[in-house]
Point group: C2
Chain length 298, copies 2
């Protein structure tokens, strides 16, 4: 079996594990209020590449973390991500009708339900991690603090607020980076750290190395997103392509051009690999995920 | 000093303590993203009677809880409450322009900001409690689980979902109670239990007694809300009066009539007092809060 075949199989296993974990950590669709629970499951299940859970599990390899705790940490991050997509797609934000190849929640249900689905999913995300067994309570509290920080006003929500304010403005490269560092970077970093923390309490040098890795893949993720938005079609993306240009949003492609954006993504991949050297072979999946993030086509 | 003067002074002290605590647990308005942080503070500070924090502190008296932990538990509940008001007021939900005598967040700022303010406040609520020091980690985790449960799809959000579905329907008294038990009751119950848990781990008989108290005041709170919506004016309420009838929403007044609703509130006050008997004199503030909830005029 080639290395890439082994990685592919590992991904399929994690994705399948996560589908089951998410399904079991969400309230059942028949449980009252049934429409809300059905819509929550619609928003989370059967969708996406599960990049964040893959990062959680890959980082878990570094310190032999237990699968049950990894599944809960990964589910928590994925539910936060899913709630942010539901709210992002609403008419008062990006007003998007297509997500992961399916109608968005407010289109499939209605706006008020989409609002409540996002709100309830955020609480459910914390609950998924709070119900973890096996981790020492103090470490679990540190993981929850990390998650709350990464998703709140100085993390993901803060990045979205900066994004809102920047529509139509000419951003510098530094400002664009700062926006993405919060908007998507904070939760990707949390995924990596939560996976590692599922194994043990981290030393500061370990946090620093994982931060360098996370910063590189976080930025690479966004650069590639911008490249794909400019080059791919909606069917391949599973969401509306070309929206950034249509919305007059600043992107890496609009600031750097296409070729330089692609070169930047390649450089960031090398940075990510470099940051993982101290972890040796145990960082194999994290390295392969950096490759995947840069080489994906959707 | 009369008993009611002592209660009044105690309330003022808790309200003032909470204003400072909330101000210090929220990111500063100048901290980037400044507009989001300013709007979060606008949504939370200088508003409301702080009924939930009062319940937290009153229940804290039962077991000599530390003030610092009570302030964090109370801030967490109040931020959850505040975020729910911001989202409730949005055009896709209740579409209300006035709250606590001030323009609602989406009116003062814009809809997208209101959405993010609510999202970020929910994360901030968990963070406020997660940053508590002094409580044993396992007990803090139990408190966080309670909060997540009370605010999510089988708590507050679930109640709002049922509320949405019930507009224009003829609800039975049992269905109306179930809706309010989740929509407002779950968070009021969480306030009482979080206050008590700040002092010690609760025995099941203590939880049962506090549940009986919480159920009674939770329902009383809603019955009185419905009575006030039907009888008071907007200036006194600090929000738009008569909205329930205008929105064709089922209320206690519409089902039971005004006189029977007032009698029910009185009965629930007695139920609340009765539930507190095992706690003796230490439950004085909880008893007085039950009186306040039934006798308030706004």
């Amino acid at each position: 079996m080639t290395a890439s075949q082994a990685f592919h199989d590992w991904m399929k296993t994690v994705q399948s594990t996560m589908e089951h974990a998410l399904a079991s950590f969400l309230p059942e669709a028949g449980h009252a209020p049934a429409r809300l629970h059905e819509a929550m499951r619609y928003a989370v299940l059967d969708g996406g590449k599960r990049v964040r859970p893959l990062l959680v599990f890959a980082a878990g390899d570094l310190f032999e973390a237990e699968a049950a705790l990894l599944a809960r940490a990964a589910a928590a991050v994925e539910m936060i991500h899913a709630y942010s997509l539901v709210h992002d797609d609403m008419p008062c934000m990006d007003d998007d009708a297509l997500r992961r190849g399916k109608p968005t929640v407010h289109v499939k249900y209605d706006e008020a339900t989409a609002l409540l689905v996002g709100d309830a999913l955020q609480a459910q995300a914390f609950l998924a991690l709070l119900q973890a067994e096996g981790a020492p309570p103090a470490r679990l509290l540190a993981m929850l603090r990390l998650l709350a920080h990464a998703s709140g006003s100085v993390g993901m929500c803060g990045g979205q607020a900066i994004d809102l304010e920047s529509v139509g403005l000419t951003l510098s490269l530094a400002q664009l980076e700062q926006m993405h560092r919060l908007k998507t970077g904070a939760l990707l970093r949390a995924s990596v750290l939560l996976g590692a923390m599922s194994g043990k309490e981290l030393a500061s040098a370990e946090v620093a190395a994982l931060d360098a890795y996370s910063a590189a893949i976080g930025l690479a993720f966004q650069v590639v997103d911008d490249v794909l938005d400019a080059t791919a079609d909606s069917a391949t993306l599973g969401k509306t392509a070309g929206k950034d240009a249509a919305d007059n949003k600043p992107t890496y492609v609009s600031i750097l051009g296409l070729a330089q954006s692609q070169a930047l993504a390649e450089k960031l991949r090398n940075d990510a690999h470099h940051a993982l050297i101290p972890f040796g072979d145990k960082a194999r999946r994290l390295r392969e995920l950096a490759d995947l993030i840069v080489q994906r086509n959707a």
